[in-house]
């Protein structure tokens, strides 16, 4: 159950993250509504990251796997910085950090689907 929830959380979060550069591109092409989409997208991404963080806590507790939580925590930190860099107009930070965040979400998506999360047994620990 927690393995499935982890994959679902990482997938929805990843899809939302992929929307952000799309909306940014629409906005910078001169479509004012793109900014609203990018801002709403930021709220959605941040919320989904929080969901993923909660699921990762469950994974840690139930499956005794810590790395999903640690990776998601790092991602949440990056997205928080990204959020404020965006609203502050600090594009030197916002653009590269956005690209790196998308790359991290991509890696996480691949890891979630290529590497099954099985419960770590006591002997394994």
């Amino acid at each position: 159950m927690w393995a499935g929830a982890w994959r679902a959380a990482v997938t929805t979060h990843g899809v939302a993250v992929y929307g952000q550069p799309v909306f940014a591109g629409v906005y910078l092409s001169g479509d004012f509504d793109g900014l609203g989409m990018h801002a709403t997208g930021a709220d959605v991404v941040t919320s989904l990251c929080l969901v993923q963080l909660i699921v990762a806590v469950g994974v840690w507790v139930r499956l005794r796997r810590a790395w999903p939580f640690l990776v998601t925590l790092a991602l949440a930190a990056a997205e928080t910085v990204q959020y404020f860099a965006g609203t502050a107009g600090a594009l030197w930070l916002h653009i590269p950090l956005g690209v790196f965040t998308v790359a991290a979400a991509t890696l996480l998506f691949a890891a979630a689907w290529l590497r099954p999360l099985v419960r770590r047994e006591a002997a394994d620990a």
């Binding site: 906005y27 001169g30 107009g89 594009l91 030197w92 790196f100 991290a104």
Partner: protein, 539 residues
Amino acid sequence: MRDGLTRRRVLAVGGALGAMAAGGLGLAAGLARHPAATGAELRSAVPLPPPYRVPLPLPEVLRPVATTGGTDRYELVQREATAEILPGVRTRLWTYGGTFPGPTIESRRGRPVTVTHRNELPVPTVVHLHGGRTPAESDGYPTDLVLPRGWGATGGHGDGHPDGGTGHHGGGMRDPRAVTSELTRAYTFPLDQRPTLLWYHDHRMDFTAPAIWRGLAGLHVVRDDAEDALGLPAGPRELPLMITDRAFAADGSLDYPSLDPALRTRPGVREPYLAGVLGDVILVNGAPWPVHEVDAARYRLRVLNASNARHYELAFVDEGDGRIREFQQVGSDQGLLAGPVTHSTLPLAPAERHDLVFDFSRVPVGTVVRLVNRLGSGRTRDVMAFRVTRRARDDSRVPRVLSTDLPDWRRADAVRVRDFSFRAGRMGADGGHGWLIGGRAFDPARTDVTVRLGDVELWRLVADVHHPVHLHLTGFRVLTRGGRDPLPHDAGLKDTVSLRPGESVELLTRWDGYRGRYLFHCHNAEHEDMGMMANLEVV
């Protein structure tokens, strides 16, 4: 496969990616400009004077040649002149009437002014009154050129047809509607508009930026009885401050990276300066880092940024304790605010005007108050200084209500919404670097926007880098900035709004006054010359 994916290897790959990301962000932090700035700075090749030695010049007020028939008539000769801007350095300028800035024109609301310009410069010119509510035929459309003597014969343009912007990066552009004249042209300004500080400057197709740089700019004040009755500081306690940046070549001339130094055929600047030309000398009313002696009293400072591309964030610094002193803003581009707004710093983009009141009685006599640019670095942080020399009586005041005639347009009044992007792109036949509005470079023969006289419209602008966007003919309200409430300095009625990188604004305006062909454009003068203008037809 499973064997290859050891814990150690995953950690190594993850660590390497983390290090790459951290390195990338560090590089971005190191390479990027803080604060963000658009343009490249020229370095002067002559020694620069120390600050606060030269007294602040005040441009002469032009005397009318006639005041009969309800119109004030003026004459101005555009000619080359030599001036000593830096002490001991002689600099050739293009001027209105022999001085830089040109003489100030003082006018009253609703009383028409006719200015007959005579072009004795070596190139065509055209005069635009920035912020003026002016009929199209006197608005200084970029191809409505006043040709100098012999221009057609000597072939300023390649094919000998001096009909306007033929050389748009080799685009071979024609403007069938251009109205050119030989040597002179009379511009009539009805000035049926709110009292404010306007400025006149050259607006020649493809060559506006270098022409302003060489000196073709002057002030034009509109006043009315209601403003006079407010009791704001006046007379010697009202100071116009035209702020510009320039750079000087080794021979004392104004340095500018033109592709064609004669400014005759080939427009544009050298590649590194495509984003805008910045100088390393700050001039106020044509003097480098000047100083002005003031009474310990309120002063009205009417500030214009006439720089091509430099942005300022103005602040008053008390030399005594090094603290930033607050001041009041009473007006903006298109006249008085509803009430004064207190600031400690104030951004000022190219072509914007701020009407400020600073109270020098709040600092001890003998204090030097420096006006600084917080966006500058090194010597471009300094702008000018005020030396408080004596105690004095002060009958001036800043009323809580400054005006009640600001338009009350609301979002719901807009009959149309228009979106425009302001960004870099390729333009012309050769696909050179340029600046585009809505993906297109300026073409005088193409109507980009048609508006109906009397309509209220909502305009939504998005920028890639800094773009101070100016609409001719009209004033507008800034509704939102970056999707949020406008900033304190967006108050009042504006005609130029400064978009920062990645930023958007929503404007509300009513097309009012006159029908005909007008412009809107980026007032980074280099961007303006390299495509970032669009036609607006009022029908």
